[in-house]
Structure formats: C-alpha cells, structure tokens
C-alpha cells in the first residue's frame, strides 16, 4: 500500500474506499478488476475486498 501523498493514481480513477478502526484505505477499481479479491486487515479487523 502507498501513502496518498506518494501515489501517482489519477484523481478521476474510481476507487473502493473504507475506513476501519480509523485507518482509511483505497482500492482502485482498475486494480480490483484484475485481482477481483483481496484479504486485508486494519488493526484488529480482518476484511475482504471484492469487485
């Protein structure tokens, strides 16, 4: 994962965003369209992102 300030992602790219336990994460639709499914964890919360 890359910090927002360091990302080169275009502003008009669609993302799936989530805030869990105060942590914000974004998953570009164009990346999710390639992998379709990811396992991630914020703090004590394990979650899945699918597209």
């Amino acid at each position: 994962m890359t910090a927002a300030k360091d990302s080169t992602l275009d502003d008009d790219e669609a993302i799936i965003g989530v805030v869990v336990e105060g942590e914000a994460r974004a998953y570009p639709v164009a990346v999710m369209g390639h992998i379709e499914l990811g396992n991630d964890t914020c703090g004590q919360t394990p979650f899945a992102v699918s597209w």
Binding site: A14, V19, V31, P46, V49
Partner: protein
C-alpha cells in the same frame, strides 16, 4: 466489503473460479466453504448458511477520497480496463444501477434514477430508521442509521429538523464537536439492478419506478 471474522474464526478468502448467479464464488482456506462475493452468504460447505458481515465502503473517485482522507493508503498494482476494471456510473445510464442496503429478505434497492430525483431518502431497514444520501455530482451514496434525525435537502444542503447542515460523507453535523452525534453507517453497495433482482427476488424496490 466484508469482515473475515466468523464467530471465533478469521477466514482467508480466495477465488474459487466459478460463478453463482453471475457472481464469482469465494472459498475460505479454513473449511473450503463457498461464499457469494456479492452477498457474503455461504452457500456450500461446513459454514453453509453463515453470513459475512458487510463493512460500509464507498465507491468514488480517488481525488474525492483523498480529500476526505488525506492519510489514506492506496493499493497499487497491475491495472486492467474493460468490463471488470471500469466503473463509469453516469447519469446517462441510471436505469442499470442501484444502491442496495440490507441483506436477505430485508434488502432494499434504490435505483440511481430515483436517487437522482430524490437524493435524500428516509426509510426503514428492519427495526432501524435509515437515511440514504446521494450526491448527484459524484453519483456516490452513503447510508446511515438516523435514529430520530429527520433530513431534507434545501438548495443542495442537507438539513436536519433543527436546521443544522450535515456532512453526508461523514454522517454528522458540519462543525459538530460532539462525536456522539455521528450516525452509524450501514453498507450501501452498488449493484446492477438486473443482477440484484436475481439474488433478492422477494426483496423490495421502494421507489415506484423501480418496480
């Protein structure tokens, strides 16, 4: 987006490589049970009948997201286009997509077409009074347990019964210094309407034009 915690288990999910009602199937590494990615329902295996808990998430542009969440992390990786890698929810095709809240028999769908006309929707979901806020410019929806709050839109602003303006993205009054006023979010997910009806044939579409 789902919690991977089921009772005392933390599941690791993988792509099973098969479809169920045009939705791909996930399997968990722990029991090899099969889960529908669009509904979070387990349809086969040891955990059949269990339901993954939705975690509220948002679909919007990266530019809008990072303004709201400047400390956000973002996933980088190989990008694809075409059907799976493109999301162009636009006002020219409002009949194809809808916003779904709830699960199973309590699920409800609001078409983008109806939300463009009425971007603040107050409804019931199970035992809860809920509100959906829809931003016509970004075509992004958020949904909240509203409790006793009553909302209306005036000149593009969302006002409560006391005349206070609310931030639809954060679910709290603008300028509020009391975190207890923040409403509890619920998952509002984007669906192709035709596909949603396949999963929830007995569920309702509250907007008359959606029926």
């Amino acid at each position: 987006m789902y919690s991977r915690r089921i009772e005392d288990r933390v599941l690791k999910l993988g792509h099973e490589g098969m479809l169920y009602r045009n939705s791909f199937i996930m399997y968990d590494h722990q029991t090899n049970s099969h889960w529908v990615h669009t509904t979070g329902e387990c349809v086969k295996g040891k955990l059949k009948g269990k339901q993954l808990r939705f975690i509220p998430s948002s679909v919007m542009t990266w530019g809008a997201w990072r303004k709201l969440n400047p400390m956000s992390l973002v996933l980088e990786g190989e990008m694809t286009r075409g059907f799976m890698g493109t999301f162009r929810l636009n006002a020219k095709s409002p009949n194809r997509y809808g916003i779904s809240i709830g699960q199973g028999a309590t699920a409800k769908l609001f078409s983008i077409k109806s939300l463009l006309v009425n971007p603040v929707v107050q409804d019931r979901l199970g035992d809860d009074d809920v509100v959906i806020f829809f931003d016509k410019e970004s075509l992004h929806a958020t949904a909240w347990i509203r409790g006793k709050n009553e909302f209306r839109q005036v000149d593009g602003k969302i006002l409560d019964q006391r005349g206070r303006e609310w931030n639809a993205m954060l679910g709290q009054p603008i300028g509020a210094d009391n975190a207890s006023e923040k409403m509890r979010p619920i998952a509002a997910t984007v669906w192709l309407i035709e596909r949603w009806r396949g999963f929830y044939p007995k569920a309702s579409s509250p907007s008359p034009k959606d029926k």
